[in-house]
Amino acid sequence: MTTKQRPDAGKSHGRSTSAFAPKCTALWLAALLSLGVTLAEAETPTRVVSMNLCTDQLAMMLAAPGQLISVSSIAHDPFTSPMHIEAQAYPTNYGSAEEIFLLAPDLVLAGSYSNPTTIAMLRRLRLRVEQIDLVEDLSQVATRLREVGEILDRTAEAEAAVDVFEARLEELRAPVPGGPLTAFYYPNGYTLGTETLSHEILSAAGIPHLAERLGRAFSGRLALEELVMADPAMIITSDPYPAASRSEEILRHPAMRRLTEPHGAFVAGNEWICGTPHVLAALEELAHERAARQ
C-alpha cells in the first residue's frame, strides 16, 4: 500500500449515508433481469458501480452522463477525496457484495486491494468486476486513465485527459533538484518509503526524500527518535481527523513541534492518495512550498 490508508470503501468512516432501502425491491428485480445481459457480452457498460476511492475519481472524470450510478462512501469524505464535491451527485455504497449486487450494475470497478471476499462473491454472482491496480509512479497515471477509458468505452475522453495531464506534468516537473530534505510522517509514526506515489510526487518537485537516504523502500513505522536524529528540514503529514485519537497525538508531540519549527509541517491533502490527475494539485502545492522555503 502506498498511502496512509487503503482507499477502499467499507471503512468505518460513517460520515455519508444514502437511503437505498425503498428502492430495494425494484432494484432486486432489475438485478435479476440484467443478469442475462451481463452474461451475454461486455458491451458498453451502462450501470457502473465503483467501490474504491481511486476508481471513483477515474470513473467520475471519464464516465458519460448517467453511466456511473454509485461511488464508494469515502468519495464523499473531504479528508480523503479530492472530488468530494463532484461525488455529492452520486449515491454511495459501503462496498458490501449484497449492496452492490442490489444496484444491478453491469460493471463494478474495484481496486486491486479491495476486499477479496467481496470481489469473489460479486464474480460468483456473475457480475463483471474490473480491478484497477495501484499507481506507483507518475507515468502510470496515464496508463490507468487509458485502462478505465477502455473499460468504460470512453477512449476519446481518456486520451484527452491524458494529454492535459502529461502537458501539465511537464510544466510542473522541477528541472533542478533542491529544496529541504523531506520526510513523510503520519499518525502512529507511519513513514513512507521510496516505492510509493508520494515519493514520486516529491521527486517530481525535485525535493530530496529522507527515505532515500535511509534506504527505506517500503513504508512502515519510524520511531519518533529516529526521525529526530535524521533531522529532516521539512515534514509532510496529514490533517487531523475530527475527534481525538492517540494515533495522531504523535504529530503534536513537543519533539515533533521543535523539529518542524519555524515553518510548521506541510499538510498533505487528499490529492496525495490516488494516482489520478489530481496529483498535479499536490505537485503544484509542493512547488510553492519549495519556493517559499528557499
Binding site: 490508508q5 471503512k11 468505518s12 468512516h13 460513517g14 460520515r15 499518525p187 502512529n188 509514526g189 512502515g220 513505522r221 520511531a223 519518533l224 527518535e225 529516529e226 529526530v228 536524529m229 533531522d231 481527523y241 475530527p242 475527534a243 481525538a244 485519537s245 492517540r246 494515533s247 495522531e248 497525538e249 504523535i250 508531540h253 513537543p254 519533539a255 521543535r258 523539529l259
Partner: protein, 327 residues
Amino acid sequence: MTRLTGVLLAIVGGLAVLSLLVGPAGFGPGQALGALVTGRGEAVTLVMREIRLPRTILAILVGASLGMSGAALQGYLRNPLAEPGLIGISSSAALAAVVALQTGLASAFALALPLSALTGAFFAVGLVFALAGPRGGSLIVILAGIAISALATALLSLTLNLSPNPFAVSETVFWLMGSLADRSFAHVGLALPFMAAGWLCLALTKRGLDALTLGEDAAGALGLPLARLRVLVIGGTALCVGAATAVAGAIGFVGLVVPHILRPFVQSRPGALLLASALGGAAIVLAADIAVRLVLPDRDLKLGVVMAFVGAPLFLHLIWKTRAALA
C-alpha cells in the same frame, strides 16, 4: 529508611537509567547521558529530554500509582486478589477517558481527561466496595470486578467504534493494554498532580490498614475511624488509577504482582506495604517498558501484554491458594 526501601530505590534508579538508554536511535550511553545533562548535540538532546525522559518519568509515576493502589485495596479488603485491573477500576477509568476524548471535552480543557478518568475509576471502586460490603469476601469482589470490567470494556469498544476518527478503532488495544510510547511532558504534567494527591490519600491510610488486620470490630474498638479510612482508600485509588490510565491506558496486574512479591519482606504489615509497593510498582513498570522496547522495537508492544505474562500465572496461583484456604 529501612533496608528494603533502600534496595528498592536502588533498583528503581538503575532501571530508570537503563530506560533512558534504551531506544532505536543509535547513540552511545555516554553521549545520551551527556546530552541529557549538558544539552550538547541538538538532536540527541531533543531525543533525551523530550522523548525518553518523559517516558521514563511516566513509567515511574504510573508504576508507583498502580502498585500503591493495589496494596491499599488488598489491605482494606483483606483480599490478595483485589487489584485495580482485575476488579474493573482501570477499564472504567479508560472508558471515561475515551469518552472525554471522543466528545471533545478533553480538547476543550486539558484537565478534563484526567478528571473524567478518575471519575470513572471512582464509580468503579465505589461500586465494588458497595457490592463487597464491609467483610469484602474474595468471591464477591472478584465477581463484581468481572461484571464491571466486562461492561466497561464493551462500552469502551462501542465508543471507539462510533468515533468519526478512522484511527480510533485501532486504539482499543492501547486503552485496554496500555503503553508509554511517545508520551511527552504534557502527559506528565497532566497526571502528576492527581497522582500526588492520590499518594497522599493512600499514605494516610497506613495506620488504619495496620489496625484493620485485627479485624473490623477490634479496629473500631481501638477508635479507628472506619468511614474516613474507606473514603481515603476509595479516593486515593480513584486518583491514582484514574490519572495513570488517562495517560497510559489500562495496565493490569501491577497492583497484584508487586504487593504479593513484597509482602513477606514487610512481615505482612499492610501499612508498610504501601511505600514498598509504590517503589516496586515503579520498578516493574520500568522493567516492562524496557522489555517492550527490546523485544519488539518497531511494534509498540503493549505494556499490559508483558504484565499479563507475569501476572496471569500468579493470579492462577493465588486462586489455587484461596481455594485451598476455603476447603
